[in-house]
């Protein structure tokens, strides 16, 4: 899969590597799940987005009105504001593989593979 996309020179992967990532993590309080999500996200950012991301953590217990803007209903939710298009990742990011796919840091598994 990886080799294939390199051979066909899919632009997405290379482009994503250069893009700046604007991320928002929505949580509610310092629950175990919130903390896990934050740690998982930190790890992903360190490994894949070194120096080209911005992360804002929003605690909805403090600012509930913010849930409306990004259409948040499940927690934790990670929103990728940039690059476009917007992506919504629901869950504590413990499934690194799916999290990377969701952030477009890894190509989506196609039906052929």
């Amino acid at each position: 899969m990886k080799a294939k996309s390199r051979r066909t020179g899919k632009p997405r992967k290379t482009k994503a590597k250069l893009d700046f990532f604007d991320l928002r993590l929505y949580i509610a309080g310092q629950t175990a799940r919130s903390l896990a999500a934050l740690a998982n996200l930190q790890r992903i950012c360190d490994e894949h987005l070194e120096g080209r991301y911005r992360l804002e953590v929003i605690d909805l217990l403090e600012r509930p009105q913010l849930a409306r803007g990004d259409q948040i209903f499940a927690l934790p939710t990670l929103i990728r504001k940039l690059p476009e298009p917007m992506r919504k990742l629901v869950g504590d990011l413990s499934d690194t593989e799916r999290a990377l796919v969701g952030l477009d840091l890894r190509p989506r598994p196609s039906s052929r593979s």
Binding site: A28, F73, L75, G91, R98
Partner: protein, 479 residues
């Protein structure tokens, strides 16, 4: 609705779930000062607002006054990626925020099942929904949760498992091209509820539910009598006319003079300065007015003054429930003292006779409670047995006049008799009547040698000639 508990409203697409729940909120805010929260998963706030404004349920003034909070949660399956454990805390937080912002007593979730399309972990979702409904109970809000009807259960995702207090099922079905909406309370814990399906109707003023079972026979009776519009006929029904608030059936074959009798009745009411409402299912208003003018009945002045209103509609323009609801609304609005329905037999074309009977029973009850005197005409098809009114509605009626068109000796003779008239002494004679350019005339009974003479025989007798098969070209003009 059970206060402080969630109610499930389910039904197929387009059955009125959203409207029912919106009306629940708006009326709560307007009439009971109970603010509400509408959480939509399907339509954006702009769409919702526009849709409801068109039904007379504009939420904007209420949200401006902080009586109503609208929120829209968009669940877009394509942009969601699940990456691990999660819960619906954000939904709780949003809902709580909305509830607190208006101090809501009522909450609507429409349609929460949409979450199932966006999130794949149904185990988590189910646990979270259970938690949500329990949480709503502890918040003490009265909630409506809507659900799409599923193929196997009441809802697609089995919401009925969680909401066990009250379940209302809506249905929108088409019977012989006429769509009817129905509502049924499937379950209502801790109350005796009607198990019947009740038709309901959505129009410019929202939802009206029409209970099929009627109110019971507890209406008080109005004092007084009112004229039939024909003095001779007044004499036949106890000398004073119909009872106020009674129901009168005028049945007869085609061309026997039903509409004429109805016209006189309406006109008499107008002469007493009482408003009359005429529902015509056969002729237009102009046509009725013109035709009645030919028998010296001028409705024009009353129509102009608005004392008499004629509402003409083809029976097929809407379903029975539509007609009934329209009639209810007009009666509520115009508050007439007398109502004419001409003819009820035409309504058979839009319903089965069972339905027509049920509808009439409801209409009659509705009018009796308001002490409206109602006259119904009915076309009998079978000349031989005019008593066998096809809809079998005579038992609802207090007075029943039968008109006949007798073919005898080469002439058609119109007769009228009072088949029944509850609570009053009434004539048992079959009277001949004439529709003349001077009006409707009941002729005196002429007896000859123990026989009642009618038609040209009586004319011959009146001129003191011999009674026999001689031909008389014309009926004698009557005083």
């Amino acid at each position: 609705m059970p206060r402080g508990r969630p109610t499930l409203v389910c039904g197929g697409p387009g059955c009125g779930k959203t409207i029912l729940s919106m009306e629940f909120l708006i009326n709560g805010a307007r009439q009971f000062d109970e603010p509400g929260v509408f959480l939509s998963f399907e339509e954006s706030i702009e769409d919702l607002t526009a849709n409801f404004a068109s039904l007379g349920l504009d939420p904007r003034p209420l949200s401006a006054r902080k009586k109503l909070a609208l929120d829209y949660i968009r669940v877009e399956p394509n942009e969601i990626q699940e990456t691990g454990g999660y819960d619906l805390d954000a939904l709780f937080i949003r809902l709580e925020h909305a509830i607190d912002s208006v101090h809501a007593k009522r909450v609507v979730l429409d349609t929460i099942e949409t979450l199932f399309s966006g999130l794949s972990d149904t185990r988590v979702l189910r646990a979270e929904l259970r938690r949500l409904f329990n949480w709503l109970k502890t918040k003490g809000v009265t909630a409506i949760v809507t659900g799409e009807r599923g193929e196997t259960g009441m809802t697609r995702h089995g919401l009925e498992e969680y909401i066990t207090d009250c379940v209302i099922m809506l249905d929108h079905r088409v019977v012989e091209q006429n769509a009817t909406r129905r509502l049924r309370v499937v379950k209502y814990r801790g109350s005796t509820h009607g198990a019947n399906e009740s038709p309901f109707f959505i129009d410019e003023s929202g939802i009206s539910v029409l209970p099929i079972a009627s109110l019971g026979l507890q209406h008080s009776i109005a004092p007084g009598r009112l004229s039939t519009g024909v003095p001779d006929l007044d004499a036949m029904v106890g000398g004073k006319g119909y009872f106020r608030g009674s129901s009168i059936l005028v049945s007869g074959t085609a061309g026997s003079g039903k509409t004429s009798l109805a016209g006189y009745f309406a006109e008499a009411a107008c002469r007493r300065r009482e408003s009359a409402l005429y529902f015509a299912f056969e002729e237009s208003a102009a046509q009725i007015a013109r035709n009645l003018r030919s028998i010296d009945l001028d409705l024009e002045p009353f129509l102009r003054k608005g004392l008499l209103q004629i509402h003409a509609a083809r029976p097929t323009t809407s379903g029975l429930e539509g007609h009934l609801s329209a009639m209810h609304r007009l009666i509520e609005e115009k508050k007439p003292r007398v109502v004419v329905v001409d003819p009820i037999s035409n309504l058979i074309s839009v319903g089965t006779s069972v339905e027509v009977r049920a509808m009439l029973a409801r209409l009659i009850d509705f009018m009796k409670v308001r002490q409206v005197t109602a006259l119904f005409t009915s076309l009998t098809i079978d000349e031989g047995h005019p008593e066998g009114t096809d809809i079998g509605i005579s038992s609802f009626m207090d007075t029943w006049l039968v008109l006949r068109n007798i073919d005898r000796n080469g002439e058609r003779i119109r007769t009228l008799d009072v088949l029944k008239s509850r609570g009053m002494p009434h004539s048992n004679q079959v009277r001949e009547f004439l529709l003349t350019s001077q009006g409707l005339k009941l002729l005196d009974v002429v007896r000859h040698q123990g026989r009642v003479l009618i038609g040209s025989e009586r004319a011959a007798q009146a001129t003191d000639g011999p009674v026999g098969p001689q031909r008389s070209g014309k009926r004698a003009p009557r005083p």
